[in-house]
Symmetry: C2
Subunit: 352 residues, 2 copies
């Protein structure tokens, strides 16, 4: 049995007993029942994930996975491909948005080269390069089936290494890769069955003409490659990307290790779609950070039955939405652990 | 000139030059322009409020104002009136939701007795009691016009004392008061012109029958008192509350001192409606923390042209939504101060 199958097999349903106890505790705290809305639901989900009515969050990690995409030769992005490695260096030097927001959240950032089309010559980048960018999905499969499995397993290794060495109580997962909204839209269309026009967005900010070209490219990628929607590895190999595969791996490993994982935006959620198809139980460990401005993100979240925590018109990626949402998840855990009960505080309960 | 008029006169428009410079800086940072959505808009607004392209947030304060309401004798709440002082003690002992979320946000909590129907015998509560609860608005005005002005001015004093003694860069304002969704719904109906049925909600969680009674009470309060919508002090005096008046005062003083103020939920936004009518320029200093589950909150926010930062189905009050949203506001400020520019990081700009 390969590493991927092993990890999938390790994923268990949430602990309903811990969730029941967490719900009872929420109802005993000094506030009208249910008045903290999604914070209460989150704390109960975390209880189920961590298998204790008193979940804790101390060690937070954002995994930012980078990869390049052969499809950029079709002119689908507003930025040149060299920006992918340039931004990886920016992550390593601490100057990118994800660095700022992770610092603000008290989270570490783990930067991973899953398949950047250049060598990253710097300390601090985890090297899991599967190739120098994918092939152009408008003409041929992005990668081989073996590469797809290799890339998912690389994501699993990244999570497990971090989990073993420094611990992870709450994970976030994000992306960097010029051109990667195109494969993400193709994955979305293949798995949700939505039309390419509906799920293809403006990415980093392309104009009307480039958008039409991008929609045509997504359609061509689906026509040329004919991904099999009931085989997520096939979808990933044909129209995916190395960082998207790695993201799926990080998510699967998080679920296997009973760690809640905040999915960032459109690209990270494409990875979550793959993970959810490979292991439906993994969906219970996913938290949707935010609703991206990118068309198609809503359809992805609906497919996964996830409700986003934030809606701030973000469309950056890198894990930025995940880093921002960590504060909310932690708040839910602090509420259940730190608030006084009606009995403790001597507050009267409802009379009606 | 009274203190209220003085403060209103001190409120100035936002600094458009600082906002322009902040916008230019946002566009020079290593991310697609606009890709951080509301975080970018927030940082620009903060620049306008603080009159510098590099706003800072170091000192955060949540003001939680408490008061009681004569209208509880109509059976409009699920909880007995004694819960108001009990919760004030809970705030002072650190066991309430607002304490937990303020600690999580790194904010101080200032608890104010604006008009609780009992003496608060404990250290740490700011005593600005205007009366032992308001009168029953279903039968007569909540308070006199003089009391309304006194209560607003008390809120101004609370903010100014804190501002002078310990500093405030970012304020949040919330409420505690059994029965206070009823006067808030009445204020909402009076000022926005919406029907009582549309803006009256379930409060702490009343059933169908109590809700019908509550709608009838709001209608009666408007019919009996005939508040003059073009005179916010009249609306406040006739159908408001002491803590709602104090909240309006905190907001006006924040604006006068160029401090952004996060409005919590339904009751705090009722105070914001009053403040916005008294000083339209004060609206520019308001930030809407979240969209409450309470019916009518959306109408209030639309009247103030505010878009909520969070939507987590909260309906607790106390300033809890404001405390949660502080993290987002701080994130926006850290982004503009800490991110690298394209030039600094050696990242290529867009080509399309």
């Amino acid at each position: 049995m390969g590493r991927l199958e092993e990890v999938i097999k390790k994923i268990e349903p949430l602990d309903v007993e811990a969730m029941k106890l967490a719900g009872e505790r929420q109802d005993s705290l000094t506030k009208p029942q249910g008045s903290l809305g999604m914070l209460e639901e989150l704390s109960i989900k975390l209880a189920g994930i961590q298998r204790t009515p008193r979940p804790k969050i101390e060690k937070k990690v954002i995994f930012t996975l980078a990869g390049d995409h052969g499809v950029v030769e079709e002119g689908v992005s507003a930025y040149p491909q060299e920006v992918t490695p340039q931004m990886v260096y920016n992550f390593l030097h601490g100057g990118a948005a994800i660095n700022v927001l992770a610092r603000h959240a008290g989270a570490r950032v783990v930067v991973v080269d899953m398949g950047v089309a250049a060598d990253i010559e710097a300390e601090g980048c985890v090297n899991k390069k599967v190739g120098y960018g994918t092939r152009n999905i408008a003409r041929e499969p992005a990668m081989t089936r073996e590469q797809a499995v290799e890339a998912i397993e690389a994501g699993i290794e990244v999570f497990e290494e971090e989990f073993r060495r420094r611990g992870v109580d709450l994970a976030g997962v994000g992306d960097m890769g010029i051109g990667n909204t195109t494969p993400s839209a193709a994955i979305c269309a293949a798995i949700t069955g939505k039309a390419p026009e509906e799920v293809t967005g403006r990415g980093t900010g392309i104009g009307e003409e480039a958008w039409r070209r991008k929609v045509a490219v997504v359609k061509r990628a689906l026509r040329v490659n004919r991904p099999n929607a009931s085989d997520a590895i096939d979808v990933l190999a044909k129209v995916g990307g190395f960082e998207i595969a790695g993201i799926a791996g990080v998510i699967l490993a998080s679920a296997a290790h009973r760690v809640a994982v905040l999915i960032d935006g459109f690209i990270a959620t494409a990875g979550a779609l793959i993970a959810g198809e490979l292991a439906p139980l993994a969906r219970d460990y996913m938290l949707a950070s935010h609703l991206s401005q990118e068309a198609g993100h809503r359809a992805m979240l609906e497919h996964l039955s996830l409700r986003p925590l934030l809606n701030l018109n973000l469309r950056l990626g890198e894990g930025t939405g995940a880093a921002l949402a960590m504060h909310i998840v932690e708040a839910s855990v602090r509420i259940i652990n730190e608030m006084a009960t009606f009995a403790e505080a001597g507050v009267s309960e409802r009379v009606e």
